[in-house]
């Protein structure tokens, strides 16, 4: 777990969230949320509360979270003003 910035420092900043694939259809490609520091799990819950139609998708553990280009677990803390990307299952070929 890493925590680089305090909530106080970034008070008023917004969390930047990006969605891909079917999630982008449901939620748009980008979203800004007024949130203090939170874990990935808390961020998922906040998005689910605000967007009930996307609840099952955003809470699905098949959807992975990514911070700074690295897959992040549910307990990973994100500072306000940070960016989180959500990836539905991928498929190439």
């Amino acid at each position: 777990m890493e925590r680089v910035t305090s909530a106080f420092e970034y008070e008023g900043l917004q969390m930047n969230v990006r969605f891909y694939g079917r999630l982008a259809d449901l939620l748009g490609e980008q979203m800004k949320l007024d949130m203090a520091d939170c874990s990935i799990g808390q961020l998922r819950a906040a998005i689910a509360d605000r967007h009930p139609l996307a609840r099952a998708e955003i809470l699905s553990q098949r959807v992975r979270a990514c911070v700074h280009d690295v897959i992040a677990g549910e307990d990973h803390l994100v500072g306000a003003g940070g960016t989180v990307e959500f990836f539905p299952p991928v498929s190439g070929g």
């Binding site: 891909y20 694939g21 079917r22 982008a24 259809d25 990514c66 280009d69 990307e85 990836f87 539905p88 299952p89 991928v90 498929s91 190439g92 070929g93």
Partner: protein, 152 residues
């Protein structure tokens, strides 16, 4: 030697093979290639007008690099090359092309097979089929995951 390229425009698999063949060394006795084409119909038989592959600005190329490097590491091959399309793809166009060169055929076949199984399940793309009946996002099938698991 391995290479992986993300390609945003149509590409010519024959030209890719010709370029690859020029780079292989004298000890190579086998080159296996696979070309994946966009189908004009989906799993339910409905017409697909466009296949759209969304990619990530940085991580898609990284995933292709990782898969190509793993193939080169795992098999006794002299070279691996792969090209993967992103964006809007018309039926009949190549989506993916993989090539493996080796001293003997078995390693080349296996490497190409391995690369495709990993690309189907792990390459960082989101695939959508667009047709007259609407759009559908496509995820790996159970078969795709079973094929991938053979290499675990």
């Amino acid at each position: 030697m391995w290479r992986a390229r993300l390609c945003l425009e149509p590409f010519d698999p024959a030209a890719a093979l010709a370029a690859f063949a020029k780079q292989i060394d004298a000890g190579t006795g086998a080159v296996v290639t696979f070309t994946g084409l966009a189908r004009g119909a989906n799993r339910n038989g409905l017409a697909v007008e466009t296949l759209f592959l969304q990619h990530h600005a940085r991580l898609t190329q990284r995933s292709l690099d990782e898969i190509a490097a793993a193939g080169a590491e795992r098999f006794n091959v002299a070279g691996i090359d792969l090209i993967h399309r992103a964006g809007a793809i018309a039926p009949g166009e190549a989506i993916v092309w993989v090539a493996a060169a080796a001293a003997h055929r078995r390693a080349a076949f296996e490497a190409a097979d391995y690369l495709m199984d990993r690309l189907k399940t792990e390459a960082l793309f989101w695939k959508r089929e667009d047709g007259a009946d609407g759009s559908t996002w496509v995820e790996p099938t159970d078969d795709d995951h079973r094929e991938r698991a053979r290499w675990s």
